[in-house]
């Protein structure tokens, strides 16, 4: 039988029916990685030996009926800013290159307990800062749909692993679009859960009021399965809350669902072909019975500038811990303590990370705090109010995930503002804390290649079920 394009659901049902073993599934992915990942570079590390042992254990447990879970035996690729005990976790930064994690992230512990197998660690923009995976200290990842283009970022390795069939599912993290935008560029499903739905304990923090961990998968059903395995209160992340189990309505109609289309998401900067694709998707939602309404998010245009104060401010504080003393890289040319900090960070951090630390430090510094950080925090309330008001009249919102399809290598690396625009439709969601997913909704042609386009579906706080259910109906009708 063919193992191509397996899903979580297919793997688990196949294992239950004894159609194949976890060892066979894992061998299939290892073989794909061996064949294709030299070119794609989705992985920073593959746990070749460990996965075979883990798969053997799971096969035995299944045979002995000692495990029964909706993700058992499923190999999962993990973004390399999530800690797996005893393995290297680099955040794609030179400063952490030799770092070995001293504990498991809560999400890893949860997945392990439910019988998931960790295939390896995937590439990302250094410390998850970027929209193309070009900021990785270990070289970029290629988009499997076109090797001349970026996979998006920062979870570019995880999304590319899905698109290249190098994993059936992956974990990403999303601070301003880092799960959804690469999922859109690579033709995968990516879910950023509600702030507080999934524990970040063991995720290398970027901007703590925005960060969430979430699944990148091939299907909506898989996203629901993996999210269900991840969510829940964790005593090591005080922002987490206990939520209701996911209810995926497998309906063929969207009758009774009120869908808002924010008119601000179709303005200047949106690629014409991508815009067409999204408009067709909205029409399809309408023909499936959804009640489509144009709505307003009056402060939408201010989300990106607000994000570029809030995020770097938190980055500058979170990355202070990389001081050259506690973890990994330490300079060899320091004579006194201050030089240890300054030179270790000079040598260890890449350019984008330094730029954001500098920006955040400035925004928080004496004399500028109120003008920048204070202002951004006030704007943040207005942006969240926009969503609260919108959700008084609609159940979900839809629009483009990204303004363009995947762009070429080097196109935006010299102009940070150009790069930041890739997240123009995603950052507001993190500022407001609501959940959102990206689902493939069509393709556009560029240089003779078909490139995926992502539809973003945004939901109310803790209503992942609504966006997953709508996405499921949409996916099945395509």
């Amino acid at each position: 039988m063919s193992f191509d394009n397996l899903t979580i659901a297919k793997i688990v049902s196949g294992l239950k029916a004894k159609e194949f073993s976890a060892e066979e599934v894992v061998s299939f992915y290892l073989e794909n990685i061996r064949k294709r990942d030299k070119e794609i570079h989705a992985y920073l590390e593959v746990f070749e030996k460990e996965v075979m042992i883990a798969a053997g254990d799971i096969d035995k447990k299944i045979a002995d009926k000692k495990i029964d879970s909706p993700i058992m035996g499923v190999p999962i690729a993990v973004k390399d800013n999530i800690l797996i005990h005893g393995t290297r976790t680099t955040a794609a930064s030179k400063i952490l290159a030799p770092y070995v994690a001293s504990y498991d992230a809560t999400v890893i512990e949860k997945l392990r307990a439910q019988g998931a197998i960790f295939l390896g660690k995937t590439n990302l923009d250094e410390f998850a800062m970027g929209s193309s995976t070009e900021n990785s200290a270990f070289g970029p990842t290629k988009n499997p749909h076109d090797f001349d283009r970026v996979p998006g970022g920062s979870s570019g390795g995880s999304a590319a692993a899905l698109a290249g069939d190098l994993a059936p599912a992956a974990l990403g993290s999303d601070t301003g679009g880092s799960i959804r935008q690469p999922a859109a560029f690579c033709g995968a499903v990516g879910l950023k859960p509600t702030y507080g739905a999934v524990s970040r304990h063991g995720l290398i923090a970027m901007a703590s009021s925005l960060d969430q961990i979430g699944p990148i998968t091939k299907t909506v059903e898989d996203a629901a399965l993996l999210f269900e395995a991840l969510r829940g209160r964790d005593r090591y992340d005080a922002t987490t809350v206990e939520t209701k189990p996911v209810e995926l309505k497998k309906s063929d109609t969207l009758r009774g669902v009120k869908v808002g289309v924010p008119k601000e998401y179709f303005g200047e900067g949106l690629d014409k072909d991508v815009g067409e694709c999204i408009k067709n998707a909205v029409k399809l939602l309408g023909s499936l019975g959804a009640d489509i309404r144009e709505i307003e998010l009056p402060h939408a245009e201010y989300a990106l500038p607000t994000y570029y104060i809030v995020m770097p401010a938190e980055v500058s504080a979170n990355l202070a811990r990389f001081d050259g003393i506690r973890y990994a890289h330490q300079t060899r040319s320091a004579e006194a303590l201050l030089e240890v900090y300054e030179k270790s960070r000079k040598e260890g951090f890449g350019r984008e990370v330094k730029r954001r630390i500098m920006l955040g430090t400035y925004a928080l510094s004496a004399g500028y705090y109120e003008a920048y950080y204070g202002k951004a925090q006030r704007m943040r309330r207005l942006i969240r109010e926009d969503f609260r008001r919108a959700f008084e009249s609609v159940d979900i919102l839809v629009g483009p995930t990204a303004p363009t399809p995947a762009f070429g290598f080097g196109e935006r690396t010299n102009n940070p503002l150009q790069m930041y625009l890739a997240d123009i439709y995603t950052v507001a969601i993190n500022l407001a804390g609501v959940p959102a997913l990206s689902i493939p909704c069509g393709r556009v042609k560029r240089d003779g290649k078909d490139l995926p386009v992502g539809l973003q579906i945004i939901g109310k706080w803790f209503d992942e079920s609504a966006i997953l259910s709508a996405a499921y109906t949409f996916e099945q009708s395509q």
Partner: protein
């Protein structure tokens, strides 16, 4: 306008040594990004309370203060492994440089 002096000051606050060409590049980049974020000044926010993040007021009830019994617990992670992550260590201690340079 971000001056060379500003950049040097921020770099010192951020504890990052910059190369000469980085100072110039970051000066330009930060200037451009700050121009971009300055469009926020078009909106009057004088009556708006700052929001640090988190959940909307109606959902805050989901988060409750939690206390635990004051009992000794095993630490999170193995202390030896935590120390081991440091680049310089000796017998369970993390080693650092002195604050002051030695004068000759």
């Amino acid at each position: 306008m971000i001056t060379k002096k500003d950049i040097e000051h921020i770099a010192r606050l951020a504890r990052i040594e910059l190369a000469e060409e980085e100072e110039e590049k970051f000066g330009k980049d930060l200037g451009a990004i700050l121009d971009f974020v300055n469009q926020l000044n078009k909106v009057d926010t004088s009556d708006i309370l700052p929001l640090a993040g988190g959940l909307p007021e109606g959902l805050l009830a989901l988060l409750e203060n939690e206390t635990r019994p004051d009992e000794e617990k095993t630490p999170l992670g193995n202390p030896a492994e935590l120390v081991n992550a440091a680049p310089k260590k000796e017998e369970g201690w993390i080693e650092t440089k002195a604050i002051f340079k030695e004068t000759k």
